[in-house]
């Protein structure tokens, strides 16, 4: 059992969720409320990671994070180490490939808030921020929570992109999914089975917790 890999995966998923939560809330809300020319194109772009093969997507990220691309060069300049094959690079890649999992459900969540209810909040004297906090977020919460759970679970399981961008450096970029693959390659069935079981348990727990929380929210909204 590779505890380092598990811990790394959990850290990666945690960071992804922390960064994506505000992105999902603000971008999902924006996309839910506004209609503008090119909205369909932006929605398609956000959904792109969902349909591209992970290796293709990982390849582009690898190139984009490389020293010869603007993002990679900037990172090297700022922090003195390359973005590829580093934990930070992995977090950034994870954020990007989780965008559809975070934004889509959050957008659906905000779309479910009736427009009259939002207008009523304004007419009750609530500033946009207070309206978001007191009215919209509580009502869009099931969507936002689904977004977070999906991103978390998806990060734990992602394989192809992680391998392309991060490689398999123990303690730095070797996630549990890659560790399992590694163990299978080494014919270490026991370790692979244990780690797979742990991953199944974590996923089950996450989904059960989501259902329980949604049911609570559902009861609250009656």
């Amino acid at each position: 059992m590779d505890w380092t890999a598990l811990w790394l995966s959990l850290r990666l998923a945690g960071w992804t969720v922390i960064v994506l939560l505000p992105v999902a809330v603000f971008f999902g809300r924006f996309m839910a409320y506004r209609s503008f020319g090119g909205k369909g194109l932006i929605e398609a772009l956000v959904m792109l990671p969902l349909v591209l093969p992970p290796t293709v997507f990982g390849y582009y990220l690898l190139v984009g994070f490389g020293r010869n691309a603007p993002i990679g060069a900037f990172w090297q300049e700022m922090f003195g180490h390359p973005l590829v094959f580093s934990f930070q690079g992995l977090v950034l890649a994870s954020i990007i490939f989780n965008l559809p999992f975070a934004i889509q459900p959050a957008q659906r969540g905000f779309e479910a808030v009736p427009i009259e209810v939002r207008e009523a909040a304004q007419c009750c004297g609530m500033s946009p921020l207070r309206s978001l906090w007191q009215v919209e977020l509580p009502l869009a919460w099931p969507g936002v929570m689904t977004a977070m759970v999906l991103s978390f679970a998806h990060t734990l399981g992602e394989f192809g992109i992680v391998l392309m961008v991060g490689g398999s450096i123990p303690g730095e970029t070797r996630t549990i999914a890659i560790a399992i693959y590694d163990r299978v390659q080494a014919f270490d069935d026991t370790a692979a089975a244990t780690m797979s079981a742990v991953l199944v348990a974590i996923s089950l727990f996450t989904i059960a917790a989501t259902y329980w929380l949604s049911a609570r929210v559902g009861r609250r909204l009656g």
Partner: protein, 370 residues
């Protein structure tokens, strides 16, 4: 402290109107659906910004396209009751009401919310969530929430259209009962002329975005131009009446300034003031007091004006005591009876011609106007 509204836009919905509502006054915006009534209300609330408009209340300009002033809704002290209630489903009734009290310190909000819920007769339901309340109760919460902000203008957008008739009558009575507490200008948007005439002090009639008549309710409801837009069969007038007794044969005896009025059984204890809407086409005029007639109500009055229409009909305004009613008769009868201003006549009204929903809560006419 009056509310002044002016708007002029070419499209997408053309709008051209201007009106003023005094504090404590209830103005009804009447017109068919799609006439632009709700759009005007949304503009006053700040939910819609037209190219050319001005909204000012209590000395504050909320919107003036000429000077570029446009306050967002949360900076306008406005109370809005939406057609669909638009309550916050995750909050209790009390929390809904308290949510509009950003101006009050937190510890005071709860008590104020309960006071407002009492005011709309919802005591004991403060902890219920909207889903646990009936449509009428939700609308009362919405009304309490609209008042919670101590608004400079209260806007009611078709607030009674989504509830059944009995609930609607109770809500009408609730609003009329609240009038003493409503010191601000009130705008009621409705397509129901009956409701508008029973509740409003002033009417603005909108047709295809254009204001075609505006003024005191009684004046507008006898204006042929307004009536053409609203439908001639909506023509009528309201008179003040007080319940005297409920009689054993199912009739209720009322007292008006022109004499007694018998109507089918009404709710309310003796002494209750009501506003009775008498439809113009239900009134028969006679020069002599008729005998041997089945109609129970024969009230003496004087003709004030005769307005012939384009067709065979004419409107005759008759003063009955302190009230004025409208009769729609044929031009032939006007000639035959020689009806002219100053002529004495009798207005005849069948008891059965007044439907229950044509009677609304009223106030003692001797009480000074707000």
């Amino acid at each position: 402290m009056a509310l002044e509204v002016m708007v002029k836009v070419a499209g997408p919905i053309p709008l051209d109107l201007a009106f003023r509502v005094e504090p404590g006054q209830l103005l009804a915006l009447v017109g068919h659906s799609g006439a632009g009534k709700t759009t005007v209300l949304r503009m006053v609330a700040g939910l819609w910004r037209p190219e050319q408009a001005r909204v000012a209340v209590a000395g504050t300009t909320w919107l003036d396209t000429a000077t570029g002033v446009n306050l967002p809704p949360h900076q306008r002290r406005v109370g809005v009751v939406f057609q669909s209630y638009a309550l916050f489903p995750h909050m209790t009734a009390a929390q809904n009401v308290a949510s509009a009290m950003g101006h009050l310190p937190k510890p005071e909000r709860r008590a104020e919310a309960e006071r407002l819920l009492d005011l709309v007769n919802l005591n004991g339901l403060a902890e219920r969530r909207p889903a646990q309340l009936s449509g009428g109760q939700q609308q009362r919460v919405a009304l309490a929430r609209a008042l919670a902000r101590r608004p400079d203008a209260l806007l009611l957008d078709e607030p009674f259209s989504a509830v059944d008739r009995a609930t609607r009558e109770r809500l009408h009575a609730a609003i009329i009962g609240l009038r003493a507490h409503l010191a601000m200008p009130v705008i009621l948007v409705t397509h129901d002329v009956n409701e508008a005439q029973l509740m409003a002090d002033r009417l603005v009639v909108i047709e295809k975005g254009r204001m075609i008549a505006g003024g005191a309710t009684g004046t507008v409801m006898s204006d042929p131009v307004a009536l053409r837009a609203l439908g001639l069969r909506e023509a009528g007038a309201t008179i003040a009446a007080r319940i005297v007794a409920h009689e054993s044969d199912g009739l209720t005896r009322l007292e008006t300034s022109a004499g007694p009025l018998l109507l089918p059984r009404l709710d309310g204890a003796p002494g209750t003031w009501l506003r009775v809407r008498i439809m113009a086409h239900e009134v028969i005029l006679a020069r002599q007091a008729p005998k041997g007639l089945s109609a129970l109500n024969i009230l003496p009055g004087t003709v004030i004006a005769v307005k012939p229409g384009d067709g065979p009909g004419a409107f005759v305004q008759v003063r009955l005591g302190r009230d004025t009613i409208l009769a729609r008769v044929t031009r032939r009868s006007v000639d035959a009876l020689a009806l002219a201003p100053g002529v004495g006549c009798f207005a005849i009204l069948k008891s059965m011609a007044v439907a229950r929903d044509q009677v609304g809560a009223g106030v003692d006419p001797a009480r000074p106007d707000p």
